[in-house]
Symmetry: C2
Subunit: 204 residues, 2 copies
Amino acid sequence: MRKGLIFVISGPAGSGKGTVVKLLREMIPDLGFSVSATTRAPRPGEEDGVNYHFMDRERFKSLLEEGMILEHTEYCGNFYGTLKSEAEKVLSEGRDIILEIEVEGALQVKRLMPDECVTVMLIAPDRAELERRLRGRGTETDDVIMKRLERAVTEVGLAENYDYVVVNETDHSEECAAQIKSIITAEHSRYAMMKSTVESYSAE
Amino acid sequence: MRKGLIFVISGPAGSGKGTVVKLLREMIPDLGFSVSATTRAPRPGEEDGVNYHFMDRERFKSLLEEGMILEHTEYCGNFYGTLKSEAEKVLSEGRDIILEIEVEGALQVKRLMPDECVTVMLIAPDRAELERRLRGRGTETDDVIMKRLERAVTEVGLAENYDYVVVNETDHSEECAAQIKSIITAEHSRYAMMKSTVESYSAE
């Protein structure tokens, strides 16, 4: 049976990642969804294992140390993360997972699941266009914009750690999403993914 | 500038390679074309360097020994082959090349141009369907069919040497060609191909 893969997509500020990933999710309706782990308290009506895997900080930290959490973030004093066991369950059902995460987390997922993880960095066509996009919001001071620009350029510089780099040309988000979809198709055609099909030939 | 890549497509008997590659060529109109070398004599009206690079057997064999011929075949006592220099010229113009060749030749191209060559093996969905396709022609004896089947199965077994394996489902040649097109798109998005774009960010 087809095995799922994890596609990690990173995009520095100005790459237009939000729009592209939204389009991509629309293009691939049967994507898998892994229930996140969190240390925040359940809200009324939330079910453990459905909305989140709820746990205390101690448990979360110990899973993190054991390499059982693929990536995580802290938000308002609570941890949120993707459990390796949860991801493996989804992949074994033949579904792909898309994770939108920053460089550090992306490389950690790759390290923890090298055979199942494909990393894609989304970038603006060039530095000038990146600056235009960051300025385009028109709400920040020059100082803030230059800091964001510098940070984004640094992040693009880390693209050498990624499997793929995709340029999001201005006003061509659809093409960009289609290009990532092609990467997903291609990765499922790699020999390693097709091994069992090939081997069934000689087994018959 | 975008650099071209060589896509080598092999397909054992019954894989339906002919139809798929024809569709693929229609889908990618700006494919490059490398003028082949041959030891056969020019026919009236044929121009050296346009129709073929004409040469004698001695020259062909010496180029072959030097690793300057990517792949070749012998037909009616004459050699036909793809010159490495010719392929490199086309790739440097930013155009991709599609070569339809058998396993041995495919692996040789990969060996001679590892960074520019991507190999794809096309296969029938399974052994039973492969046999149905081989019998479908209805013109050969059982003995001949079994020999062709055996040979095709052996060739599929060599798929582990290929980068990609694509199944040509019966009556779905269009999807199959589209899948190879996705592989072409994906390969152009690999970090190594995007390196200069990424590096131009920090150079500016």
